[in-house]
Amino acid sequence: MKGMSTIVKTIANIGFPIITIYGLYVIAHGHLTPGGGFQGGAIVASGLALLAVAHGTSWVESKVKEHDLSMLESLGALGFIGLAFLGLLMGGAFFSNFLVDTSMLFGAIPVDGAANINTGGTLPLMNFAVGLKVIAGLFAIVLVMAIATNKEED
């Protein structure tokens, strides 16, 4: 599939960074506000799908390979389950939140229920892992669909 017109490409180029930053915000604030790894990942993947539809299949195919996407997806799953087993190792239980109430990243305890990004222990890290997996997985679905329909045309 060839790309669309210049108007569509320009609007997609302007909209893509805004959509991506909003999706990363939803992932990073997953333990405070509605949303989380899956929702933010779906938003980022929809921004990538916007680029893929606007610029055409061959342009996207030259930038990213499906093999790299499945590697990123496996990396997200490994990070999630690795954090869970790290809880078994350091906290004594599967999924134990060993980072909370320490001086490390995301280790603080919220005062009087006030929203603070530096809380939650391992939950934000698990949200990052799920977000990576969902971004790679959903964009791989769109990319496979694009490549399959492109082959059909030739």
Binding site: M1, V26, P34, G35, G36, F38, Q39, A42, I43, A45, S46, A49, L50, A52, V53, T57, L138, I141, V142, M145, A146, T149, N150, E152, E153
Partner: protein
């Protein structure tokens, strides 16, 4: 809240209308946009029902990703639906 009750009745009716439009349209890209608007109305209904998590997921997957996949599929085939005999 009489206004909220009215919205709870109006939104599903609009969803049914846009789904029927998606069925009856012969231009498949326009039908895809009608499906996306149905998904968007559904996510608004989820938000009113105090489920913002589900609303965000529905807006991302239903309105954006499904539309992209359907448009990619339509690009590889014909844009208009053929008349049945």
């Amino acid at each position: 809240m009489i206004l909220l009750d009215a919205i709870h009745i109006i939104l599903p009716l609009l969803m049914i209308v846009s789904a029927l439009i998606a069925v009856y349209l012969k231009d498949l890209v326009a039908a895809t946009i009608a499906l996306a608007s149905m998904s968007l109305l559904l996510s608004l209904e989820f938000y009113i029902l105090q489920a913002p998590d589900v609303a965000i997921a529905e807006a991302g997957v239903g309105a954006a990703l499904t539309t992209a996949i359907l448009i990619l599929a339509i690009k590889a085939t014909k844009r208009t639906e053929e008349e049945e005999e």
